[in-house]
Symmetry: D3
Subunit: 326 residues, 6 copies
């Protein structure tokens, strides 16, 4: 069973809208080696897992899989910010036939030749479940052979490829919004790569100096370096509400990347940051409410809500103030 808290797993830096960068990031969301894929692959591997004796391996996969849902949420939100509005366009469209001032363009005018036109035409300046050339995500991506060694080997390759692609995307754009999320995912992919490599180590493999793959020198990317200095690539969260995960039996000891760090799995989840709701876009008719409907919406928003008894999670008041992790 899954739960949610209205916080993003990592903060997103502010910068100009950038539809071309958004499109590149789509590979990290809906591409063959993106977050939707890891999320679904680990979910299926967890459901179909065989071998009660191998529970720590199942828990490792399941915990990473839960984290990937939050990654989908993070990169999706990042993309939606990158396509929200238009570069160098001040102000807000107030009429579908607006003209932009000098130095910019109305968002829908740039849709014809930048990034993916569906961001503006099918979505309302929001993320899509597709890759960077517009192919919809496909269930055929999911790998789940049932053979534990093969599944671990595939997952290792999958995380490494995801990180490889994100390093390439990092080089493609200087947009800070894009880079802040990409950098975070580069480091977390490396943590997952370490997790699967370590799991294979427990089955006898010695990696010698092969890891990390790729040898990206990603520590030269400043946003990445900052996170590596926090050892975020050697840390794994459980995201498990009742403390039943045994992933820590695997994710411990010397990192298979031989970088001098030790793997640590002693936190439930990162603290995250509050998520916010994006503003309206009149040119997209999103949410598209006229004054009459707006009034009805307001009536609902003003209502006094029934009290929910919060069982999993801290008291509501405390949660609003600061949902803490160790």
């Amino acid at each position: 069973m899954y739960f949610h808290v209205q916080r993003l797993i990592h903060d997103i830096a502010q910068d100009e809208p950038d539809p071309a960068a958004a499109n590149a990031l789509q590979e990290g969301l809906g591409g063959q080696f993106g977050e939707m894929r890891t999320m679904m692959q680990y979910l299926f591997q967890s459901m179909n897992f065989r071998g009660p004796a191998a529970k720590p391996y199942r828990d490792l996969i399941q915990g990473i899989g839960t984290e990937e849902i939050s990654h989908v949420e993070l990169i999706g939100t990042t993309i939606s910010r990158l396509v929200d509005g238009s570069p160098r366009y001040q102000g807000k469209v107030t009429d579908p036939l607006d003209k932009a001032g000098s130095g910019g363009a109305i968002p829908l005018e740039i849709a014809l030749d930048q990034g993916n036109i569906h961001h503006y035409l099918v979505g309302a300046q929001g993320a899509l479940p597709v890759d960077a050339v517009g192919n919809p995500w496909s269930g055929s991506y999911v790998y789940n052979s049932g053979n534990l060694v093969l599944d671990l080997l595939y997952n290792l390759m999958l995380e490494s490829t995801g990180r490889l692609q994100k390093c390439r995307i990092y080089e493609m754009t200087a947009n800070k919004t894009a880079r802040s999320t990409i950098a975070y995912l580069i480091v977390r992919d490396q943590a997952h790569e370490n997790a699967y490599a370590k799991a294979l180590e427990t089955l006898g493999v010695h990696w010698n100096t092969l890891l990390p793959i790729p040898k990206t020198n990603a520590e030269k990317f400043p946003e990445v370096k900052k996170l590596l200095d926090l050892n975020l690539h050697s840390k794994q969260y459980t995201f498990d509400l009742a403390g039943q995960s045994e992933a820590g039996k695997i994710f411990q000891g010397m990192s298979p990347s031989k970088d001098g760090t030790n793997l640590v799995a002693d936190e439930q989840a990162p603290e995250g940051v509050p998520s916010v709701i994006a503003g309206e876009r009149m040119e997209e008719f999103a949410p598209g409410l006229d004054p009459a409907l707006m009034e009805l919406i307001q009536a609902t928003a003003d209502m006094e809500m029934a009290e929910v008894d919060v069982s999993y999670g801290p008291a509501k008041a405390a949660a609003k103030a600061a949902p803490k992790t160790k």
Copy 2:
């Protein structure tokens, strides 16, 4: 940010394996109107939501979306049980070249003409991200126009169609494992149908006697009736850990289905049941560990795990005993 607890959202009844029923259930998992679709559609609608004033609507969608992940987990696990082994086959395959006793068949022998051969050939007797004719799930299914009214209208139609298909599946099979999950999802789909219909009511629509769609008389299905008697079709959970959801501002008052019930949203989550890990399948080489690897696995399983500090959720000991909801 998302969290997980090692419990299934609803119990699954015991019965014989049934590959044909499993295949029909695949439509409810990976079909165009199945749980993977609702899960992804509501996740995208939540990430891309516009209009801070409409937060209760976002929270309603987000909460249902979180529930759908647990539905994917439930129906996926159900399918994996339905294809685990073979009908009327006693005992366990101990050799890839085993022959079954009278009255049954080795699982891989039935793979050629029952259900979906991929359940046995690509997966190891487990669920797949495909529909009932083997089409992989596609990102093109996700609808997220950004226009609030259209998104709500689509979601209403989506839940109703999901329920329609599940009612048809119910009639297709008498297998109790299949029917217990199908019945639960029929009732929960109706709750979601009520949620979106109610949201449209707050925008002025009067449904008169149109709902529920379809008029299934599903209350004649005994497993369904039992759940309806508990008003499970008029209840919505938040699955929100910090009590920030405002979905209850919409999901309240008289049910749009005009069945005399009131909509109630005062619980965080159902109690659920513990999830278990399936046994090995030697004929599938899953997990496929020989004695040497088995010994290494055991060493990992025996390890003493590092303590995780549980922030969201009750104390670990209590959780293991009985993760309660109101």
Copy 3:
């Protein structure tokens, strides 16, 4: 601009439901060489046609394309009859949990192992836009190079392949409902094959004895023979309401199949037969109206309709009696 008349282009023989035959016929509807493909291919070729001097060729393609829409209607209706109910099942399902008498099965029970389960699960015992293995029809099938010779060559090959597949389907089933439509389409495909072969003859090709392709000896199929005896394979209709088609400048003279017939294009359309609306299917919740909704429907049906002035087409009264063609 297109028009419709509520008549089927050819009659459909009565026989038992037959889901396996229905599934085979899906290839003729939604397969790569089926009627949806020819319909769409000729529609695109007509819209994108270049060369005003070549108008007779455009008109030939456009006229056949219009006929193909009626073929989609014919084969779709045939499939819906073949999956309407269940073989050897007397009576009508009156309750979703009905049990059939001896000698038959409730339709939804046979869905698990006969034909395409989507006929019962996604559709309500009706035709689908897919091929015989469940692949959805794809726009990538449409060929329209813009080069007239290539387009004609492709169309010739397309019609011949369609006929080849239909001859194979004919051999696969003895069901009379299936065979009556298949036989009609075999003969019309041959007429279209003759049309494109003749068009290439006007460009200099001599076919010698190569046509028809395949050499099916389909005249041995009794239903086919009957139609060949009427020279239906050497006749082309215009389906053109205002008599502007110049297709007859090509479709005339000796048949390229060298069978002693002459090509004739002097009729607007065949007479056809009235189309009827299928009955309800309670087990599919189709149309799924309860007594309250049924009453509302009846009120609408009873209404006195506004008079429509019929411009294209004969007087309404006459049309109802007998919409004649020469």
Copy 4:
């Protein structure tokens, strides 16, 4: 059975070629909510319709479905004009290796970075059955649950989404060729939206002020306003040759959009405009006839055609002069 007349359902304004606008329009042709989809969806819903008592609903769907074929023809032709030649390029390519004069570019040179390269490479400067990012149209788009209420609800959402996307396309381009067709389809989509909303009204739903969806203020688009002033959004044609359609029993009375108009269904079809055949494109080898083949084509064109007896439709001479509707 279907018929055709060589007229477009609406006129297309003249303007420069514009490959980027053409590409955006592809969404309206081959996209998930485009005209190929509505055409096919309504064709399947009509063929598979259940419930003789509900004939007016079937006729409503069937009539709109017939109109959609003409919409495919209209938007397809519009796209083919938008990619016919190259902006600011005077004259005509006379040699595949031509160079353009100043101020323009040879069409095939712009293909590499504008719109969809397939318009020039796979097609010969013509429309394609794909969406605006090049995905081929898919049969999986077609929705036909068999449940009347769900099918109507889906159709309402479908037409509204189609209109939403077209409003966005309108804002994306100022090209008059593109806008004239988009404006017409915006208004006709609204008529269809009204049709399905009204059908649901006959089943008891009250829409209050929810319609039209989206609230586009599209009346601010001048080309749209002109058509709204003619009440084209409150009019439905039957396209039925024999006057058997009962759609008018539903499409009558006050518009569900509450705009003060009444729904009227008293015409068979709009008058339309004559369609013309596009010129040659030597750089595409389309139609690609050398002098020898050209001579053979001419011989065919000069032939005296056999007389066709026109049964459905007015006398040929009159039709050529002016195929009228009321």
Copy 5:
């Protein structure tokens, strides 16, 4: 540049036709982990290879890739034999309307409920480029990151998964035609698995006892054991005509599977067996020649062919007698 010799890489055992087994084998041909995939993946990895210093690795991949084309030829031919005719059907169809004798069925009659109907309907009892549930092979399967370590890791996983699936297919059928080819491919996949594992060993990895993956005990399959006894799993051919391959620098020394064998790469190619052309199938109209066309074919076959100068390869006469390898 590629060359061909009219020999199959391995012999195919004789047995009854078996459409269900044929369908399972399609996974090994056109499935995501089948021979078309390995063939294409290694072809792309070879073309796009970077790093002149790593030539032995390129040559290893290229050599295996060349072998995979012969595997496609082998498994494709095996499938075409398994669907050629019908089980327990004596004699030959001589008329499309033939009836079978007792104890069997005409091939086209079994098409409706066994295996993949396309084998009989789209193909003429021949292999198809699809997987075991009918999904067409897709270019999206090809993995070629450009990072050498990742490509090797993926290839190792790919070969292991291919072998896993073939072991499962082996268990699914007792048909000797199917098993002879499956057994050969199991052993060759293991050789390729060894090749990529060894390549990773040269980069520092120690596999300990992890290989082979899966631990199939496939040596219990008699047809497999026979080939393992010949050390065919520890042998690699170059298929390189000019002796330029440096793959032997990697494929040598102790097998990474730790089975006591040494890897050997000292042969160009296996000897193979002559390939033969299948007989006609009148019921499929394949090749579909009537007496008139047959006579023309015969005239061509009787012609005296021009002499081809054979540069690569032994003298023609010798080759016909016995194209030997060491």
Copy 6:
């Protein structure tokens, strides 16, 4: 069985990188009428061929099919050169965060708006198995009806369409690297077109002046003219190592293109040119070896390779010097 020699079938001219041209060429590699398609189609037609008496036709198809593998290799290598680096960029990326000098851009920076971003993001500046709009190659492209006449007719149309598209690509770009390969393939496609047209001539068809299709006047393209002057469009190779091909019984006599040449099939293969391995791309982490791994690679490269006995093909020493054809 297939063999390989490390030579390209034709030389590739040097020019600047050109991602837009590379993208256009993808149609010729992975498009519906590209080289992957011809290669696979002829491979399947050869495996599934029926009719021993028609061996010359099988051999013709099989020989062309073998050539197509070399065409895939040629066009794939051409594309990888066109995306290797960046136009007007001097020097070599030495750090993932490099900045380019004036007049150029770092390759990954141009990826966002030129050609197909996957060339840089999923591949490492290399060819992909997709078409020019990014659709992955699909097995559904393969046509193999089993009817000899239809298969030949399709192949004729296929080669002609391939040539038509390549003529259009030629006009789209002036890049010499692109044009040298395109020109070669135009001429070879014409040879294959002649082959299938001639095969149909042996079955009785007279083409008169219809061929070649299209009438491209491609002889005006200088690179094409040079190859036509060598009669390369009237020559066919066998690529058959043991001289068993009987294709020459068909490919002989007057060309069906009526251009005064005679068809000649007296050579085994063209001479080709040596293939080379591309350099590293640090910004792509391809091959991505750090100094430690590089050292291990070098150790492997330095090894003394085991001697391979070359059976098919000339002595190794001679081959290295000059692998000749007549």
